[in-house]
């Protein structure tokens, strides 16, 4: 196989792209408008036209520099960036991955129609050009797909972080008394993050008592129970005391069955009881100011 031969074919495709840019653009836009994946609710007709024309214009200017149409080459950087940007904005706007991918895949039909017109008489060249066309569109498709995946991953990661932050508020109940109300199922990773932020808050606020309230926790496993215990030990090393409150009967049973020793840890049935104990330890009492109130 001679590379010179392939070179000629690819040059042909690039020549056609450059020479027939306007026609290809119109064909591509009408191709997209006819697809089921066309979503006028998410993207207006005007935006669709603008995006298609802008991308095609980047493609033709890159094709002038690199007729081999190899997207890995530096000449295609602007094309890759623009396509990533378009794919990203579509993924964020709510297009499904298939809908986003069909944006570039629909270019295949427009290109192939054009190739057929140009190579009407020459079946051999047509076949070769079709092949180049397929390879080229596939490369565009890969850029789109990986961008969509990356965008989704970023989104998921961001949401996870936000949820973690939301679900781990360390609040100051009183001077020197912190509270960590835990809600929802605890997994090992979340427990670790929560506990680290509790210890950090203890230092920042100079609190000597931390109440860990697990009223909102349906179950604990061995690992989570051990994390809880380790946190209590770490807090003690730092000079603060932990009170665990709101242990459900089910969790108490689990803890005993798991053989986790809790006897060095102060436990209270409710957050209110824990707060009362904390006040007592701080040498404070609550008094009603006005008996009529």
């Amino acid at each position: 196989m001679s590379t010179g031969f392939r070179q000629t074919d690819e040059r042909s495709l690039s020549d056609i792209l450059i020479r027939h840019e306007t026609e290809i653009a119109s064909a591509w836009i009408s191709e997209q408008a006819s697809l089921i994946s066309h979503r006028p609710d998410l993207l207006t007709e005007t935006e669709l036209r603008q995006q298609s024309r802008a991308l095609l214009s980047e493609i033709t200017s890159a094709a002038r520099m690199d007729p081999s149409l190899n997207l890995a080459n530096s000449a295609w950087k602007a094309t890759r960036d623009l396509l990533s940007e378009i794919s990203r904005s579509r993924a964020l706007a709510g297009f499904s991955p298939a809908e986003t991918a069909s944006f570039v895949f629909s270019l295949r039909g427009a290109l192939m129609d054009r190739l057929q017109t140009v190579y009407e008489e020459d079946a051999r060249s047509l076949a070769a050009a079709m092949r180049s066309c397929s390879t080229f569109v596939d490369q565009l498709g890969l850029v789109t797909t990986s961008t969509v995946l990356k965008t989704r991953e970023e989104l998921i990661k961001k949401q996870q972080e936000e949820m973690l932050e939301l679900s781990t508020p360390v609040v100051r109940l009183f001077d020197g008394v912190l509270c960590l109300p835990l809600i929802g199922t605890l997994d090992s990773a979340r427990t670790q993050v929560v506990m680290e932020s509790l210890l950090q808050k203890i230092v920042e606020t100079g609190s000597t008592i931390a109440i860990i309230d697990i009223t909102g926790v349906p179950t604990v496993d061995t690992l989570v129970a051990q994390h809880l215990l380790k946190t209590v030990s770490a807090a003690r090393l730092m000079g603060a005391e932990c009170i665990v409150s709101g242990i459900r009967p089910q969790i108490a049973q689990t803890i005993v069955h798991l053989g986790v020793e809790l006897h060095n840890v102060a436990t209270k049935a409710t957050l209110a009881d824990a707060l009362a104990l904390a006040m007592q330890k701080r040498g404070l009492t609550i008094q009603r100011v006005n008996k009529q109130a």
């Binding site: 380790k230 030990s233 003690r236 090393l237």
Partner: protein, 128 residues
């Protein structure tokens, strides 16, 4: 020989560890403190390790020894300022320092020592 300075305030001895201690330096501190407790007739020892970014089993054992030895010499030891990351690592390592009293910072450490130490001679003793 390299030594960590020990300050005397009333009946308390104060140590602030500011350097990454090699093993002999930690052992020197243990020797110096036990001698100073007797010589200065100290009742309490406060060791601030807030500047340490790591405590391994050796330093942990030295701290534990200091607390146990000073108790024999009738003095209370309080270790203050253990950083969260250091505390988590110690627990993971299996070191819980059961013989040692701890406090968040120097201020609460001194308050704890004052609570622990009986003052039969009254308040006047605090002025020395």
């Amino acid at each position: 020989m390299e030594r960590i300075p020990i300050l005397k305030q009333g009946d308390l001895l104060l140590v602030s560890v500011q350097v990454d201690m090699h093993d002999q330096l930690a052992l020197n501190l243990q020797d110096d403190l036990t001698q100073r407790i007797v010589r200065d007739n100290a009742r309490g020892v406060l060791i601030d390790i807030s500047a340490l970014d790591m405590v391994d089993s050796f330093i942990g054992r030295v701290l534990d020894n200091i607390a146990t030895m000073s108790r024999i010499l009738d003095a209370e030891t309080v270790v203050v300022g253990i950083q969260p990351a250091v505390a988590i690592t110690l627990v993971e390592l299996g070191i819980t320092l059961p013989n040692i009293r701890t406090a968040l910072n120097i201020e609460s450490g001194i308050a704890l020592l004052r609570r622990l130490l009986p003052t039969p001679d009254g308040d006047a003793d605090d002025q020395s």
